[in-house]
């Protein structure tokens, strides 16, 4: 009696298990296909997915076609000249530098050594006229005391660019250790 009940049940479970396995395989194959398609699409559109171009990208580019684009890089130390509402500065990535003119309000984080993204047009003389300037924030988060301690010890000058490797300061105790 019990065997008669158990047998069809076991057969049913075997069928269910094979169905489960088939569903799992279909799912895995679909996922693989989808992932490959997404990777191909993203690689194909690589150049259109960047938010800005670096001065080196622009140096490698053909002659400017007068279209607006975004230029990004660090504000070169000592390059900022403010003249009323107009600001002139140079944007650099270390290898190439482009001079920029901008009329308007600069964001709070704008300073020498800061990353910026500017929207504008490149003139035939290689001068960039910006209609928008955004500041970039880098991935470092530190209290003012730590920044002062790093500056005093000569490990970092914020006007020269990014902070030193985090392992040098991310557990630093400036009050007790300094």
């Amino acid at each position: 009696m019990s065997g008669a009940v158990a047998n069809p049940k076991r057969g049913g479970m075997g069928l269910a298990a094979s169905r489960r396995r088939r569903r799992l395989w279909v799912l895995l194959l679909c996922g693989l296909g989808l992932g490959a398609a997404a990777a191909l699409a993203l690689t194909a559109f690589r150049d259109n997915l960047v938010f800005f171009r670096s001065p080196s990208d622009i140096a490698a580019m053909a002659a400017p076609d007068g279209r607006a684009f975004r230029l990004g890089g660090l504000v070169e130390a000592g390059s900022v000249v403010r003249d009323g509402a107009e600001a002139r500065f140079r944007v650099t990535d270390g290898a190439h530098t482009i001079s920029v003119t901008y009329r308007g309000v600069l964001p709070d984080l704008f300073r020498e050594g800061q990353g910026v993204v500017t929207l504008g047009r490149l003139g035939p003389d290689g001068h960039f006229t910006a209609s928008e300037v955004l500041a970039r924030h880098d991935e470092t988060y530190m209290p003012p005391e730590v920044k002062d301690a790093l500056e005093r010890s000569g490990h970092w000058n914020p006007e020269q660019g990014a902070a030193p490797p985090a392992s040098g300061w991310n557990t630093m105790q400036p009050r007790t250790g300094g």
């Binding site: 489960r20 569903r23 799992l24 799912l27 679909c30 996922g31 989808l34 992932g35 997404a38 993203l42 690589r46 997915l49 960047v50 938010f51 800005f52 670096s54 990004g72 309000v105 600069l106 964001p107 709070d108 984080l109 704008f110 993204v117 928008e132 300037v133 955004l134 500041a135 970039r136 924030h137 880098d138 991935e139 470092t140 988060y141 530190m142 209290p143 003012p144 005391e145 730590v146 920044k147 002062d148 914020p158 902070a163 490797p165 985090a166 392992s167 300061w169 991310n170 557990t171 630093m172």
Partner: protein, 234 residues
């Protein structure tokens, strides 16, 4: 359940106090850095929660577990709210720091897509007369959307973006001072507990709702049968 609510609040409230009042300001962001203590946990939960949704969807599609369908259905409104908060706090931070509320860079656009996936999943699972069918369509949508998770995470490394690269989950170790990393991790744990509690409460409510429906159905059947049995002696 009450102890889960208690635990969430017991972790979250001190963590938020630590983040908002006791942790230092940033040297260049000033007090604005405190937005990060909400923004980053919301971003982690938006992605971690989505991974949970995807797991529930696999369990529902392959193993046909009824509780998995229910969990997927109940996690998506919470996930949508968390992603919306991530976008809103990011926008509030972006205005004073970057100088704009929004930019169409790869990170922000992919998180917006994540938000639409959450909302779309919440809507589509409830759009069918036949609940089982809605759950199936929702599970497929959720799994297709998994493609977006690595795009969100690595967008800041693969392409240049306005959004800064990762500060905590990165190969070279956190580039955040320990006095800020502590409250951030505490907030992340607190918000995660709250997220889990909210989802569990929703699943429990949904289970009870179905139990009530089943009882009502049984009572209605009994009521249908009762006059018939009375009719026999008469």
């Amino acid at each position: 359940m009450p102890w889960l609510w208690g635990l969430s609040l017991a972790v979250l409230l001190p963590a938020v106090a630590w983040a908002l009042f006791l942790s230092p300001a940033d040297w260049q962001q000033g007090e604005t850095v405190r937005i990060m203590y909400v923004h980053v946990p919301m971003a982690w939960l938006a992605m971690g929660g989505y991974a949970g949704l995807a797991l529930a969807s696999v369990l529902a599609l392959v193993w046909k577990h009824p509780l998995a369908d229910l969990a997927a259905r109940e996690i998506s409104p919470v996930g949508a709210v968390v992603t919306a908060l991530c976008l809103a706090t990011g926008s509030l931070w972006g205005r004073p720091m970057w100088g704009t509320w929004w930019a169409w860079d790869a990170r922000m656009t992919s998180v917006l897509v994540l938000f639409f996936l959450w909302v779309g999943h919440a809507a589509i699972t409830r759009a069918f007369e036949d609940e089982e069918r809605g759950a199936r369509v929702g599970a497929i949508l959720a799994l297709v959307g998994v493609v977006n998770l690595p795009i969100v995470k690595f967008s800041v490394d693969w392409w240049n973006t306005l959004h800064q690269p990762a500060s905590v989950a990165r190969m070279a170790g956190p580039s955040m001072h320990i006095s800020m990393l502590g409250p951030l991790l505490a907030c992340a744990i607190g918000f995660s507990l709250l997220f889990g509690t909210l989802v569990l409460a929703r699943v429990r409510a949904a289970v009870m709702e179905r139990r009530v429906q089943a009882l009502e159905l049984a009572r209605a059947r009994e009521a249908d049968r009762a006059p018939a049995s009375e009719a026999v002696p008469a």
